[in-house]
């Protein structure tokens, strides 16, 4: 390419100066090439990185609901049904100050009513309920997670990758008191609690859903 060039305007630099400039340019190109090549060979992966919460570290401090750059946090609660006790008195569902064991808002822990409680079966005089998170309602505050931690701890928080815009530095990670945020490969961008993962692994032989869940979970 030949940009318009004028002998007058380019002020006729002495040859020595031109030579130095050229030298510096090629040196820089070589340095960038070498550094880039070394980094590419040693550390890089074709996959992007994503932010994820290690549920084993998370203490459900509520920062996840408030610190995300999105108006509605990318973090939401997840239920691992295989770890859930289906308790009648769910500590993740009911406010400790509940008046009655029913679905009235004042009895619920969740501020948005995102935990859905459905009666499943009565066995030997014991009632069992299934608790499912309504993704659209969940704001990721982790109140249910904290409650559930008193019992089985089947509820946990995850960054949902259909929502997260993948900030280069996650704003919640900066505010997280326990450094629970980790970078994971975009191929397998989820994490599970140790126990939950074991249970799902046991189930994987029989269930294709369990297998596809494991395929999404970071191996480490």
């Amino acid at each position: 390419m030949s940009p318009p060039n004028s002998p007058v305007n380019s002020s006729k630099p002495p040859d020595r100066r031109q030579f130095l400039t050229d030298g510096a340019r090629w040196l820089s190109v070589a340095a960038l090439g070498a550094a880039g090549g070394a980094l590419a060979v040693q550390h890089s992966a074709s996959a992007e990185m994503r932010w994820q919460i290690d549920p084993n570290q998370c203490i459900a401090c509520t920062n996840c609901a408030t610190q995300c750059v999105l108006d509605e946090s990318a973090v939401k609660a997840v239920q691992c049904f295989d770890l859930c006790g289906y308790c009648e008195i769910c500590t993740g569902y009911f406010d400790p100050q509940y008046q009655k064991l029913d679905t009235a808002a004042e009895n619920q822990l969740c501020p948005t009513g995102a935990v859905v409680r459905i009666f499943v079966e009565e066995k030997a005089g014991q009632k069992f309920f299934e608790y499912t998170i309504d993704e659209l309602q969940c704001i990721g505050c982790g109140k249910c997670v904290k409650g559930c931690a008193l019992m089985n701890g089947s509820l946990y928080l995850q960054v949902f990758h259909d929502r997260c815009v993948n900030c280069n530095e996650c704003a919640i990670a900066v505010a997280c008191p326990t450094q629970a945020f980790v970078r994971v490969s975009a191929d397998r961008p989820y994490r599970m609690k140790r126990l939950a993962k074991q249970l799902i692994e046991q189930k994987a032989g029989k269930s294709s859903e369990a297998r596809s869940l494991l395929e999404q979970v970071d191996p480490s």
Binding site: S28, L32, H43, F128, H161, D162
Partner: protein, 445 residues
Amino acid sequence: MNSTLRWATLGVVAAVLTGSAAAELIPTPSFSNHAVPTTRVPVADDVIWPLVDVAILALALGLATYLALVKRSRRGLVALAVASVLWFGFWRQGCVCPIGATQNVALAACDSSYVLPVSVLAFFLLPLVVTLFFGRTFCAAVCPLGAVQELAAVRPLQVPRWLDHALGLIPYLYLGVAVMFAATGTGFIVCRYDPFVAFFRLGGNTPMIVFGGCLLLLGIFVGRPYCRYLCPYGAILRVLAKFSKWRVHITPSECINCRLCEHVCPYGAIEPTTVEQPAAERAQGRRRLQVMLALAPVLILTFGGLGTLLATPLSQWHATVRLAEQVRAEELGVNAPPSDAAEAFRTSGQPASELYQSALGLRDRFFWLGGALGAWTGLVVSAKLIHLSVRRRRAGFQADRAGCVSCGRCYWYCPVEQVRLGWIAQPADAVAAQVNAETPKEMSA
């Protein structure tokens, strides 16, 4: 009764009732006609985007270079700037950008456990290589941060030279701090304090939205305040642009010294024709240069020494150090409102001594890093002083390679260029029309 206690009691009762005292877990029941569902998580479906982004970045760089250097079309550059703001800014929401990628690269270079995506590496390298050959055409219309400020600069005033030089040191220092924090895994401060990303996302934390808004308002009068006085990537680009093979040339043929370009450049990047100095002044200049050269090592060492004093405050940016301080303070019972972090650390069962050990290790590292940062500061300052003392000879007005962001205003306004384009018959028409009263006598040769 304390609510946690109440639940805990309940939990124990429940555990005893269901007879699972060993694992303290309530077993998942098996139902007669209800299958226990499997957890489902949404797929990340944008794995292809990064590659598209790199391709678009390369394309945009090519286009910006062509428009700025070959086509010399200011209009084209403005259109490209709008497109970049829309695509990289609003559509791709500003992450990852080459500015931030600097930190990913620094982290990858120092932490072998961090995996650097190839696309991020490409984002970092592409604009640098292009700049080495064509000058800062990336800044002209590709960088979304630069582009949005370019569009904002409608009533630019000239910043006094001395202030421009002084503030112009900040990007280099910011770069030093950012690289240091990224390399130690402390954090990506350039992303944390990115003024425009909240604007591109139409949401985010309030202080940064306010800061970004203020910068844009300021940018109406002071051309590209972020680019000139903050951008750490711009600092790298400035240095590399000095060695560029090609660059923006203002006039297509002979400079008539009308000073129109100097007036119109919002970024103070145009340097005037030099006049021959009397011998006495030249000798004085040479002496000043000698003093500055001798001063450089002194500055570097002094600042380096001072930098080591920053070890403690710098290390406090690191989460591990902060946690260790908190745990220690709570242990000693001094001024310690209990924190979640310390509480979580205690329940984790990790011995505090280990934490203290790693915090002390970090502080040691920050001692040397603080020194390095200080030395870097000294180097930057003395390089500036030396640069200011070196005299260059220029026939005709020229854009300073480092400061020029290839925005294309200067040749757009150059009367010689306007004659070439056939807009006016002779240069004097434009000069008379635009600056009649302003042109100083000694320049109207």
